[in-house]
């Protein structure tokens, strides 16, 4: 069974080139990516992940609002008793914020320039055996 990953672009900035590049790399690695689009709210992302029965949420954020929006995602997951979902994020996030986000339960934050293979390897290590049975 392929790992299912909901990928979303949080916040109001309108660029999704980066998140689409990551989505393609994850697809090519054998994962199922559900891309929900731009301008997502934390509530929308969590709802989509639950309906899609995804194990992973990948958040892309470049608007500088990461310290409000990402913690909100973690709160909504808690409210919905879905803390078992793994959350990772990508974007321009300063080191001290990465530490804070990890304390809130975010599994990993990938900053710009991270090789795509590193993200793929990270997920493979976290979910061994969860690529698709072709």
């Amino acid at each position: 069974m392929a790992l299912r990953i909901v990928m979303a672009k949080l916040g109001l900035d309108g660029h999704d080139r980066g998140v689409k590049i990551v989505a393609r790399a994850l697809r090519d690695a054998g994962f199922e990516v559900i891309y929900t689009g731009l301008r997502q709210t934390p509530e929308m992302v969590v709802d989509a992940a639950l309906q899609e029965d995804a194990q992973v949420i990948g958040l892309s954020i470049h608007s500088g609002a990461h310290m409000t929006l990402i913690p909100r995602v973690m709160d909504v997951l808690k409210e919905k008793q879905a803390e078992d979902l793994m959350v990772f994020a990508g974007g321009i996030v300063p080191d001290e914020d990465i530490e804070k986000l990890k304390k809130l339960g975010v599994a990993e934050v990938f900053t710009p320039g991270t090789p795509l293979q590193e993200i793929v390897d990270y997920l493979r290590a976290k979910f061994p055996g969860e690529t698709a049975a072709v």
């Binding site: 990516v33 891309y35 509530e43 639950l50 309906q51 029965d53 698709a132 072709v134």
Partner: protein, 303 residues
């Protein structure tokens, strides 16, 4: 809701543990109306699904959308982007949207989507919309599951009627010419009409409806055509006849699925079978002996 989503995952990965559940659930509730949306990539199926969801919600009905997309045959991976078009319904508790991978197993998608419909119906959804891309086997499988299949076309190069593969036109209960705001749509309508006129006289003549899904135009007319088709199915006795036909299809698909899975395993593990293949230089003897000798053991849980 999470339980529903998880059950759909079991069905999607063809987990044999759901058998008991479906033997208890039985068939979908007859009130659940199942609509299929199929057509070439980019013709506007998801946008149309979004407009249909809005229409149903305005009429007080709950709706589930299952969007089937092919997985890569090489890696098994996929990117499902159909939800993007339906974002405005994201927080509506009476709307459920799910992406489902068509993993290229013959009959598997038909079984999976049929069982997903059973789950959604039991969960209380009034309408289920099944979207599939018309590029392979999948739209045929899904057409067998839907009560009414909408074939979505759009004007412009590549989507022309002549381009449609043989066998696809026949699955349309209603033709939707979407993107009617674009030049050339009248021509697409004419092409479909002349093609229909060339064919044999059938008891149901598929209507052609023009829509602009992105603006919600033509949806009333489309839903009226769907209602007429449904009335035809009921009054002609087809609705009832199709119930048994579908169960027959499902039974045949299950035989295929069960025996294929078990046969694969046997062919890997059993040296005698491998020896037989080497000796015969042909697959028939091995296949026959699997069916004859393994018989009941092909059924999951019977090994």
């Amino acid at each position: 809701m999470r339980a529903l989503a998880r059950a759909i995952s079991l069905v999607e990965r063809r987990d044999p543990s759901t058998r008991e559940l479906f033997e208890t659930l039985g068939e979908p509730r007859p009130e659940t109306e199942i609509l299929g949306l199929t057509g070439a990539p980019g013709t506007g199926k998801s946008t149309l699904a979004d407009a249909l969801v809005a229409w149903h919600r305005a009429h007080g009905e709950s709706v589930a959308v299952i969007a089937c997309d092919p997985n890569s045959p090489f890696t098994g991976g996929a990117i499902f982007g159909d939800r993007i078009r339906m974002q405005r319904h994201a927080l509506d508790p009476d709307v459920f949207i799910r992406s489902m991978g068509a993993r290229g197993h013959l009959g598997g998608l038909a079984l999976a989507s049929r069982e997903a419909v059973r789950l959604l119906s039991a969960y209380g959804f009034d309408r289920v919309i099944l979207e599939t891309v018309g590029v392979g086997q999948s739209e045929l499988e899904v057409a067998g599951v839907a009560d009414t299949t909408l074939l979505v076309l759009a004007p412009g190069l590549g989507d022309g009627v002549q381009m449609i593969k043989a066998g696809i036109m026949e699955i349309a209960d209603v033709f939707v010419v979407n993107k009617a705001d674009q030049p050339g749509y009248e021509r697409t309508v004419l092409e479909i009409r002349s093609m229909l006129n060339m064919g044999p006289k059938l008891p149901w003549k598929p209507p052609i409806v023009a829509t602009v899904a992105s603006r919600g135009e033509g949806i009333d007319e489309l839903m009226e055509a769907v209602a007429r088709h449904r009335a035809f199915l009921v009054s002609s006795g087809r609705m009832e006849a199709r119930r048994l036909e579908r169960l027959k299809d499902e039974a045949a698909d299950l035989v295929g699925e069960w025996s294929r899975k078990a046969a694969r395993r046997l062919l890997e593990d059993d040296d005698d079978l491998a020896g037989r293949l080497e000796a015969d230089k042909a697959p028939y003897g091995a296949a026959e002996s699997i069916l004859k000798e393994e018989g009941a053991r092909l059924v999951p849980g019977q090994q």
